[in-house]
Amino acid sequence: MEFEFPTPLTTVPSTANKTGVWRTFRPVINYEKCIRCYICWKFCPEPAISFVPGDKYPAPSEAFLKRDAVEINYDYCKGCGICANECPKGAIDFVLERGDGQ
């Protein structure tokens, strides 16, 4: 076996490891309630929440559409539920994973 370095260096980004399969409970954002405060994004330990253009999802009112929305990346979300627990508007439902990706 030929190696590039004399010791094993880890160079492959962990994004290759889809930790979403760990999930038992799934956080689901209720965009009608989401005020786009980004607290869920702030407290995600993966991180598995990212920003998307504001008009991609509905919002409680027209004004919120100017702000970027957040999206949960289920490839990595382990379902810890911090986002649902910390959401000031109760806009994230925490539901039992059905195993069919829904």
Binding site: P8, T10, S14, T15, Y38, W41, P45, K78
Partner: protein
């Protein structure tokens, strides 16, 4: 358009293997947001030796030198001095060790590195026991806690000793910047790490990092518990710059310690009397901290 209260740049990738709701993972995410790309991190044996995943995976966007359990202080000393030789003064060096690797087995190397005044940041991310090996008691485990080596049992053998005050030990040693931080207060945590990055010399930061697995709490409670630790004054947020204390969060109302303890399985065996005893300890420590703040600020003014 968006406004965030912490930097958007991420230097920790998803796909790592931390437990659900891991406070230590959040702590690293915040720390690297503060320090940026030009950083070298060294971790000893601890949860963070496993969190990045197994070979060939990496989860950090900066170089990470794994090292032995007790040598974080020495490891960052060596990296720093080598970087100085190479003229890479602009690279930040951060040691990142757990509470066992800091308060217990690594205390000598930590003390040595701080005393030698290397330009390094040492972070003790504190999940209050040897979590990577399965929740054994460390010197930083709080009074009253159940762990697998203080299993309560019929004889009620839980942790009967107070938590080792590592940050206070660093203050006593004269470390020019010592701070406590908490994952529930990321803005404060990031500000402190940025300050540490700007300051030359040794810096010590003690980060409270909830461990849902070891504390026997549901993973969604990670931030809630961490916030309560500050509001109950169990884990005060303060910084000490050149010996002068500044308490960053002074909770307006006195939230009872009971609220904090009763949320966690590791404290479920405690009687009401024992809870009261802990309340007394917490109150005493808080009073002492207020006095330290007052006293050291007075000395500075005079």
């Amino acid at each position: 358009m968006r406004n965030t209260t912490i930097p958007e740049e991420e230097y920790m990738l998803p796909g790592h293997v931390a437990c659900l709701g891991c406070g230590a993972a959040l702590a690293m995410r915040y720390a690297l947001k503060a320090l940026g790309k030009k950083t070298i991190v060294s971790v000893p044996a601890c949860c963070w030796a496993v969190i990045p995943g197994v070979y060939p995976y990496r989860t950090l966007e900066v170089p990470l030198l794994y090292t032995a359990f007790e040598v974080t202080g020495a490891a960052i000393s060596g990296i720093r001095e080598a970087l100085e030789v190479l003229g890479q003064d602009d690279v930040t060096v951060m040691g990142w060790a757990g509470d066992g690797g800091t308060a217990d087995i690594g205390i000598q190397a930590l003390s040595g590195a701080m005393e030698r005044e290397h330009n390094v940041i040492y972070v003790m991310y504190d999940n209050e026991a040897y979590m990577n090996t399965g929740v054994q008691r460390s010197g930083a485990t709080p009074f009253g806690a159940w762990t697998t080596t203080t299993p309560v049992g019929k004889l009620r053998i839980y942790k009967k000793e107070r938590k080792k005050p590592v940050a206070e030990m660093m203050v006593a040693q004269g470390v020019p910047y010592v701070a406590t931080a908490n994952i529930a207060y990321p803005e404060d945590l990031i500000r402190k790490l940025r300050k540490a990055k700007e300051m030359k010399g040794p810096k010590f930061i003690h980060i409270y990092a909830t461990c849902p697995t070891g504390w026997r709490v549901p993973p969604n409670k990670t931030i809630e518990i961490a916030k309560l630790a500050v509001q109950t004054r169990v884990f005060p947020l303060y910084e000490v710059e050149n010996g002068v204390y500044k308490i960053n969060v002074k909770p307006k109302e006195r939230v009872p310690v009971r609220d904090y303890l009763r949320m966690q399985g590791r404290f479920r065996h405690l009687t009401e009397e024992e809870v009261e005893l802990i309340q007394k300890m917490v109150d005493e420590e808080w009073e002492k901290l207020l006095l330290k703040e007052e006293m050291t600020n007075r000395v500075r003014k005079e």
